[in-house]
């Protein structure tokens, strides 16, 4: 249950920079299917937040409806959480961040939640550059209602019952880039190293992070003919390059050869190094990012890694010029204008 404070680590146990053990980041036992990609993602989330030393009391977990949206119960047991209605988590997250801009929101959604019922809210979340890490656990199907097609199902992919998808998929990464998300990445639930690096970089970012994680549904969409099966993704994963993330609090010891690496300095001073496969790929180039997504999709491949990043753009709470104290913590004196103010308003209406 979510009410306990993290226990002090046992002596000798590995602790992070805020003196918490990894146990402090764990949640309830998963009720998802054994082998579900979503569970692996939850594991990576726990690791990344632990290693980055994020205070779980400042984290809020948000989700919509679906298998993916259940997963916030399986990590960060001490954090507050809001399981919203189907597709509408972005609105709830936006409101929560406005109420308290010091909170660190992580949203977990699915491909139906994001790409179908909630696409209208997703669009505006990206557009506003609300500071949130928004993870789509993308399996191309509706698991909780037993396997219907979702809007990210690939053209021609086949359900267990033989139904073939005859509509083109929505590329959530391309959509997010066009709409103004400032950190867009794709990974695969089975790629521990890449996913962990991306999550850590996402934590260092200030603005909307879209992390599209292909996460095969072992029950309804992990068979031959599915483009989101483990086997298919392993064969068709096209990583942008080996990615290394260096948090701002670590000494920079990595040494990449100039000309083959791309360095991205994050908002908080952390650095992301991309070791290139594609010569000259620059994740700050919007056109290149969209072009890459288009080219790989045409080949039936998934480009994975940090696809696009814009580390310096102000986020939504900056734009609104909010006071430093969270709005939810303002005292009554700051909330209720004076008697003189009301008198002045009344005088103007006489």
């Amino acid at each position: 249950m979510a009410t306990e404070t993290p226990a002090l680590p046992a002596p000798g146990k590995k602790i992070n920079r805020i003196n918490l053990a990894v146990q402090a980041y764990r949640g309830g036992k998963s009720t998802l299917c054994a082998g579900c990609g979503h569970n692996a993602i939850s594991e990576r989330i726990v690791e990344a937040y632990f290693e980055m030393g994020v205070d779980p009391h400042r984290v809020i977990k948000l989700s919509g409806i679906g298998c993916s949206s259940k997963s916030p119960a399986y990590f960060f047991g001490v954090s507050h959480a809001f399981n919203a209605v189907h597709g509408r988590m972005p609105a709830v997250a936006t409101g929560a961040v406005l109420a308290n801009k010091h909170l660190l929101p992580i949203g977990v959604s699915g491909d139906g939640d994001t790409g179908a019922i909630g696409v209208g809210h997703f669009v505006h979340l990206m557009r506003r550059n609300v500071p949130i890490i928004y993870i789509v656990e993308n399996n191309g199907c509706y698991g909780l209602t037993k396997g219907q097609m979702s809007p990210t199902a690939d053209l021609g992919s086949r359900l267990k019952n033989g139904v073939v998808n005859d509509l083109p998929p929505i590329d959530l990464c391309a959509l997010a880039i066009q709409l103004g998300a400032t950190f867009v990445a794709r990974s695969f639930s089975g790629d521990k190293k890449q996913l962990a690096s991306l999550l850590k970089a996402a934590i260092a970012h200030r603005g909307t992070v879209l992390l599209d994680v292909i996460s095969p549904c072992v029950t309804f969409n992990d068979h031959e003919g599915s483009t989101k099966s483990y086997a298919y993704v392993k064969d068709h994963d096209d990583p942008l390059g080996e990615m290394t993330f260096v948090p701002f609090f670590d000494d920079i010891v990595v040494d990449y050869e100039p000309g083959t690496t791309q360095e991205v300095k994050m908002h908080d001073g952390s650095r992301v190094y991309l070791k290139k496969i594609e010569e000259g790929y620059n994740p700050r180039d919007k056109v290149a990012a969209l072009s890459l997504l288009d080219h790989t999709a045409r080949k039936g491949e998934f480009a994975t890694g940090l696809i696009y990043v814009e580390p310096d753009r102000g986020c939504f709470t900056d734009l609104l010029n909010l006071v430093d104290t969270p709005l939810s913590m303002l005292p009554e004196e700051a909330l209720r204008p004076s008697r003189e103010a009301l008198d002045e308003i009344m005088e103007r209406l006489r």
Partner: protein, 661 residues
């Protein structure tokens, strides 16, 4: 006040009196308002008002009998084309009457359109203080060729018509007083810029009415200054038009109608305000911090006005930063979603909308109810169903809002009747939302929200904000153990923590949960939770604003109404008493859930009329859920649903008709 026959041009102080030069005089036996009460006849004209006894034409008038004058008791209807800039002229007219101390109200009957369709502005002056819509028009200002004929034909005999001369309306009726005014010819010399003439010409009818009704020109000019503020050029142009209208009327339009004004002292200390602005002021004074909204008529001006006020009064002086966030959302689903997200995270949050938005918010408000998250929702009701009449008024969301969303859901609704109550109950709504940890609806309507009302100066709140049952270290120590939905005080309300407050967290979920907020599909957990929510709603009965009751110990008849219907009821009760000798008691509902007072009120009367502005007797239906069968049997309905604000005559006619059945 009599005009001397010797005066060639009556002095200002005589303006408004019937002019001795009037060649045609309408002869009333007495004030038609004092005609004996009569039952409505379905074949009669819609107003149900008798024609005056006769007309004496071409009779030179030498004296002005006081009985023929109707002082401070008339309605003016200005018919124009939407977008023709008549609003300034109408508000100047309204304000100048107000400044003369005469009770007024102004209602804009406008189309869902930006420019080109017919629109009417009605101003009522009432020495009795009646501010509901008056069914009859006494003075028509006909500026719109498209509707002029129909408007004139709809008038009761004895009404006066100021009209644009080329419309040639005089021949339509012989029982009206006509005042032709050549607006185009008059405006040209005072407004050299041809492009501005369309806007400025409206001010001419203000000048004409000033002369005809005796509205002091100094008050007109003062009102004009207030309306246009620092726009010196516009003030100058409009003042010239005002004067040219006055002078034209003075020289060419002998006073032949009985309507005139006289200075009173009934508006001292009062303000003029649209109730949407009152809601906005209430929200600001209640300390709202997160506002999310989606534009929809008639609610948009709630948030637009709020933005203006917040920028002025809620910027931190030291840092210059905002103590609020106002977001125009992508739709109403997002508006309420953001409000709930903010409410969950501890902010005072709100949204404002109207019927279609309420429908869209249905799912989210159920989540708010079930997960117990505060938010304030302002519903400025308009005529539905569906898109309905977006610019017309109704009380048609009562029943659906009370139980908005699927499953067993009940919502607290507050129902203000005036600008003052829109201000006060909006503040109350924020307190109740946090006290009961649930969405609270403020049910106003277009008539309140977008029309101009007189109001007493708003009083500064004397109570601190009620932030409800929040978990803190001391409470945690006292409780020993904490579960988000544990009913430790037996009032159905748990203690809540919010992210960032350092207290233990919980998982806010719309799926089944137990008293600790943990996921549960257990039968007992589900039922216990629903029962506790019902208990909480019972507690709310003790906290919501009580009904307003006016008992007449001699009356057998009770009247129940709510919201803007109040103003017609106040007047209709006087009509029933004065014209038919029927005494009534009155109960005005101000909130849902209802208090036990309602049952007692019904018990004290033989028949109880529930008057409301919808077709399906929505409030009466809602009342029946709380009442005993014997009480339900006493209820009768008076229903008004034309899209126009309800008027007193429609109420009194209908009650009388049912009384005589």
């Amino acid at each position: 006040m009599e005009a001397s026959a010797k005066d060639q041009r009556p002095a200002l102080c005589n303006a408004g009196s019937i002019d001795p030069r009037c060649r045609r005089r309408l002869c009333f036996g007495s004030d038609p308002r004092r005609q004996p009460f009569r039952l409505p006849n379905p074949d009669s004209r819609p107003s149900g008002r008798p024609f005056p006894r006769g007309i004496i034409d071409l009779l030179p008038l030498t004296t002005t009998p006081a009985a023929d004058q109707i002082v401070n008791d008339f309605s003016i209807q200005v018919a124009t084309v939407n977008g023709s800039g008549s609003q300034t002229a109408n508000l100047v007219l309204l304000r100048s009457l107000f400044q003369m101390g005469i009770p007024v109200s102004g209602k804009n009957l406008f189309p869902s359109n930006i420019a080109g369709l017919p629109t009417w502005y009605t101003i009522r002056a009432s020495k009795h203080g009646y501010v509901g819509r008056k069914k009859e028009t006494d003075l028509l200002v006909a500026m719109n060729a498209e509707t002029a004929t129909e408007d004139v034909l709809a008038l009761n005999a004895g009404a006066a018509v100021v009209y644009d001369e080329p419309l040639k309306l005089r021949d339509l009726r012989s029982d009206l007083v006509f005042y032709p005014v050549p607006f185009d010819r008059l405006v040209a010399p005072v407004c050299p810029d041809a492009k501005l003439r369309r806007l400025v010409r409206n001010m001419i009818y203000d000048g004409v009415l000033s002369r005809l009704l005796g509205i002091e020109m100094t008050e007109m000019e003062k009102a004009l200054g207030r309306q246009l503020g620092k726009k010196a050029k516009a003030v100058e142009l409009n003042r010239a038009a005002l004067n040219v209208g006055y002078e034209f009327a003075d020289a060419n339009l002998p006073k032949c109608d009985p309507f005139r004004v006289e200075r009173m002292n009934a508006t001292q200390g009062k303000i003029l305000i649209e109730a949407n602005a009152a809601v906005a002021i209430g929200a600001m004074m209640a300390g709202v911090t997160v506002v999310s909204w989606y534009p929809i008529t008639p609610s948009s001006t709630v948030c637009e006005t709020l933005i203006d006020y917040m920028k002025r009064y809620r910027i931190d002086k030291e840092s210059g930063k905002a103590t609020f966030a106002i977001v125009q959302a992508e739709d109403e689903l997002a508006s309420i979603g953001m409000a709930l997200g903010a409410g969950w995270a501890g902010a005072r949050s709100m949204t404002a909308t109207s019927g279609p938005g309420i429908s869209l918010m249905s799912e989210f408000t159920g989540l708010g109810y079930y997960t117990e998250v505060p938010a304030v929702i302002i519903d400025v009701q308009r005529a539905g169903p569906s898109t309905g009449l977006p610019t017309r008024t109704a009380q048609g969301d009562i029943l659906s809002t009370a139980v908005l969303s699927h499953g067993d859901t009940r919502h607290i609704m507050l129902i203000p009747n005036s600008a003052e109550e829109c201000y006060e109950l909006t503040m109350t709504a924020f307190d109740l939302a946090e006290r009961f940890q649930t969405p609270v609806f403020v049910m106003t309507d277009l008539d309140l929200g977008m029309n101009t009302w007189m109001a007493d100066v708003f009083t500064y709140p004397d109570k601190p904000l009620d932030r409800g049952k929040r978990l803190d270290a001391e409470t945690l120590k006292r409780l020993g153990e904490w579960g988000r939905y544990l009913d430790v005080d037996a009032d159905g309300i748990g203690y809540r923590s919010v992210p960032g407050d350092g207290m233990p967290s919980y998982f806010n979920r719309g799926s089944g949960h137990n008293s600790r907020g943990q996921y549960s599909e257990r039968a007992d957990d589900y039922k216990n939770n629903l029962d506790r929510l019902a208990r909480k709603f019972e507690t709310a009965r003790q906290w919501v604003p009580r009904e307003f009751v006016e008992l007449d110990p001699e009356s057998e008849i009770g009247v129940i109404a709510y919201g803007s219907t109040h103003w017609a009821i106040e007047e209709a009760r006087d009509e029933l008493r004065q014209e038919a000798g029927i005494k009534t008691s009155y109960m005005r509902l101000r909130a849902y859930p209802f208090t036990a007072e309602i049952g007692r009120f019904i018990d004290g009367h033989r028949r109880v009329y529930v008057v409301e502005q919808n077709r399906d007797a929505q409030m009466r239906s809602l009342l029946t859920l709380d009442l005993a069968p014997g009480q339900v049997e006493k209820l009768r309905s008076v229903l008004y649903y034309t899209g126009l604000p309800i008027d007193a005559r429609s109420v009194s006619d209908e009650i009388l008709a049912q009384e005589r059945e």
